[in-house]
């Protein structure tokens, strides 16, 4: 009996003290990123230029979706999430997660995230109201859901009347192929490729851009890391922007990026071609009063989630 009680008390004390221990003088920086989502700074990642620039080892971990990045950041396993989707970030901030948005990784048209209607259904932009009453696959809580909502506004269909099914992109593509759904909204090069094989984009990349639908991926960081290592964060963002500038100048090593993104060079070039990497000045503008600011406002994001002070001048 005494042993049991002392064991229980010991366990309670141990658990109570298991509050994350301060890690102020970071010995490594842990960064989250996506596969199949090529970015110029992956060249720096492979060549260990980040490690050199930050002065400490940088550990990269790939994730399947932005929500998981948030989870890992809150659990204290990730310091910086690079190219997290804006929607998962907003969901996290809305649930009071101590995260900050410090940079825009890229803006992209519907190239990377899109809704595809199956050819068999015969639904196009012109008769999109026929989607009402039918089944559509949408990965809820992601950028794809945002693109879905906005596209429906553009084509004049009522989301409330559709049968929206929660499906991850790979499954959404499979369901579109098997004819279970008439439209699937998805992201990720391979999923879109599978879906487009049996269907077509509801809005072309250009149409979506004209309608002002664009995806924004961001760099988010835990409050703790930001406070503890402002210098490292600044350097991280600086190196990323240098890589973007190098890409803009056509000097990036595409083979290295493709290999790191685990894509074929051709597919990779197509995907990255749909991304717009902003210069620091453009980023600042977007964060303060441009696309990003509008997006955040449109989604009722609490104020104070954005910090522009780490952008390179």
């Amino acid at each position: 009996m005494k042993k049991i009680i002392s064991f229980l008390l010991g366990a309670i004390v141990a658990f109570n003290l298991s509050v994350s221990v301060a890690n102020a003088a970071a010995n490594e920086v842990r960064v989250a990123f996506f596969l199949e989502w090529p970015t110029p700074n992956q060249e720096d990642k492979v060549k260990k230029l980040f490690d050199k620039a930050l002065g400490v080892p940088v550990k990269w971990t790939n994730f399947a979706n932005g929500g998981a990045m948030t989870d890992a950041m809150l659990a204290g396993d990730i310091d910086i999430s690079y190219s997290q989707g804006l929607v998962p970030f907003i969901n996290a901030v809305k649930s009071k997660a101590p995260l900050k948005l410090v940079d825009i990784a890229m803006e992209y048209g519907m190239g990377g995230t899109t809704c595809v209607t199956s050819n068999a259904s015969g639904i196009t932009k012109a008769n999109a109201s026929e989607l009402e009453g039918k089944k559509v696959a949408v990965p809820l809580g992601t950028m794809a859901e945002y693109v879905f909502d906005e596209s429906m506004k553009v084509v004049g269909a009522d989301r409330g009347k559709m049968d929206v099914i929660q499906m991850d992109p790979e499954e959404g593509a499979a369901a579109l192929v098997s004819g279970d759904v008439v439209m699937a909204c998805l992201f990720g090069g391979n999923s879109i490729k599978a879906a487009v094989a049996v269907g077509s984009r509801l809005l072309t990349v250009q149409e979506a851009r004209d309608a002002g639908i664009l995806g924004i991926d961001i760099t988010s960081v835990t409050d703790k890391f930001m406070k503890e290592n402002p210098g490292m964060l600044r350097t991280f963002i600086e190196v990323t922007h240098e890589a973007n500038a190098r890409y803009a100048a056509g000097k990036s090593d595409m083979n290295v990026i493709a290999k790191d993104a685990e894509m074929k060079v051709g597919d990779m070039k197509e995907t990255i071609g749909g991304f717009k990497f902003l210069t620091p000045a453009e980023t600042k503008q977007s964060m303060e009063s441009g696309n990003l600011a509008g997006f955040l406002k449109g989604m009722d994001t609490p104020n104070g989630a954005v910090d522009t002070s780490f952008l390179p001048n």
Partner: protein
Amino acid sequence: MFTKIITFLIFFAVVGCILYGRKLIKTEKVDAVFGNPERAKGGIHWVIVGSSFILLTWLYYSWDIAKAFYPKAANELCQVGKVNDSLLSLKYLFPIEERQFKSTFVIKSENKNIDKLAKEIENTTSLKNQDKNKLLKLIVKTKNTIPLLTNEKLLENENKIKIKELTNKITLLTKKFQKTSYPEETAEEESKRIEEAVKEGEWGASGTAVEQTIEIPIIPKTKKGLKFDAAAKELKIISDEFFKLRNHNPKYKNAMKEIKDEIKQYRSELDETREVASALAKDILKVARRIEYASIFPPKTLDDMQKSLIEFDNVQKKEQGTLRFVDVFLFPSGTIVSSGPSCSEQGSGRWLPKPSDTLNKFVLLLKPSVGFKNIPLIWFEMMDVSKIIGFILPDWLADIIPGKYPVHSQDGSVKPNFKSKVLNIVTGEFKLFKIPIPMGHIWDSFLRVFLGLVLGIIVGVPLGLFMGLNRFAKGFFDPLIELYRPVPPLAWAPLVISVLGIDNVGKVFLLFMVSLSIMIISARAGASGTQLSKIHASHSLGASRWQILRYVIFPNSLPEILTGVRVAIGMCWGTLVAAEFLAGTTGIGFVENVAKKYFQYEVIWITIFVMGMLGLLFDITLRKIIDKTIPWRGKG
């Protein structure tokens, strides 16, 4: 209030039951030796202690006890969090919570990096000697900028004054902070603040809406909170001012400029063939820039500031008073953290919602008008009986009736004929009377499990019995079953959408796969376990094959079969969640999956409880059935 009473009740229940248990041991007869099952009989009081313990742990680690007894604590801790938040950046510079000065750490690690870089340059064979020398010279120069920053004599007067000023500000704040009158607030301001605070709501108001709303009120409600709030604001200004300071004396600035210019010029001179040298030069520049950006100060310069910070920290801890103990003891494994414009629970309180909030939200979700994603958890809808008739009667009945379906006439009307009327009936397109039909997330999940289970029993039990009695059946099906049985049901999941689609068919199929193998195994074991003497007896009494099966073998295997059903139910619930993760619009698993994406922890826990409860309900029902239908269990 409710939580308070519950907490006390639980506490007294635990104490009372433990005392009772000890008394019982003393008064009990001692003739039951160790190993005698009698010793495990009874003991309701330990059941109470066990379940109370779970509840107490939940109440404690979700910080619901804190909320019940100190409802203001969260708001006050939020203000304390603001102070910590403002202090954080400054504190990291000093060995207060760290082992060493940030400057020391930066210098140490940069020296290491410089040495590493120098070694790399020396070892790079593709570099020309002249490049090597040039780069090494640059490295030495970079290294030499550090002493320029750490030399006290070089520290500019202006910076000295500024540091002193900031230190004084902190000391002044420390003094002010201890006074009861701090901060000065007019009656008007006070009433306005209180009015706003009331409008903001109480801690944990998120229980009243499905979406996350305000979690912790940030406007200070109490005098103590206001104090910390005001101090946090002042500290933030001090901290910002400090980080604007740059210990860049003219000598350092010159040295730095020299390095920058030299590297720039050097790199511009390099042609494409000497890219390695260019990259290395850039690396050197990066180190130099890192040193430039880090707040490196001479070793003794910030001593006073450190002292004043520590002093303030001690004072603010003292001023917290009882709040500190509340924080330590009632907010286990985490605390309230302020970040930017909001405060939040970080730690176990974040992912373990409070029982009271969870209950509130559950009641809210149960309301049919709210539900989850516009579908109630469990409710009923009125459905016309005609729909059921339409479902049962096959549509082709109308097709085989001679004649043709009506064609529209010239005046644009369609006249129904007998054939179309039959079609209406077999497709359920007519009105009869309405009956209530259950619907909603819970019902859908329940139905899926039920269908999977029933199908598994219908197919599995006869097959199992057959395999237990027949050599052909055993030999024929055995390899098939044994091959598929060890496969975890979720291994089918990736195929299900492609093959069976996203409707209920796929999900029920997964559950069917689960229950089938269990039912086959248990029925087979039951059949082959029948005592031969019983079969012989019935034979000699002249029973037919069917009678032997019906009256001897089946009743004998029933206990095994029903145990199999119980196992299968558990497995089915386990698989259901994953099956509903796949693709869904309804179901408990769907609710959990979507709630996860929006970080709605209360909803996640609700789904977990609902599943536990439903599983328990199934099991209890089955136990009752077992007791009723097979009283001979364990006696054959």
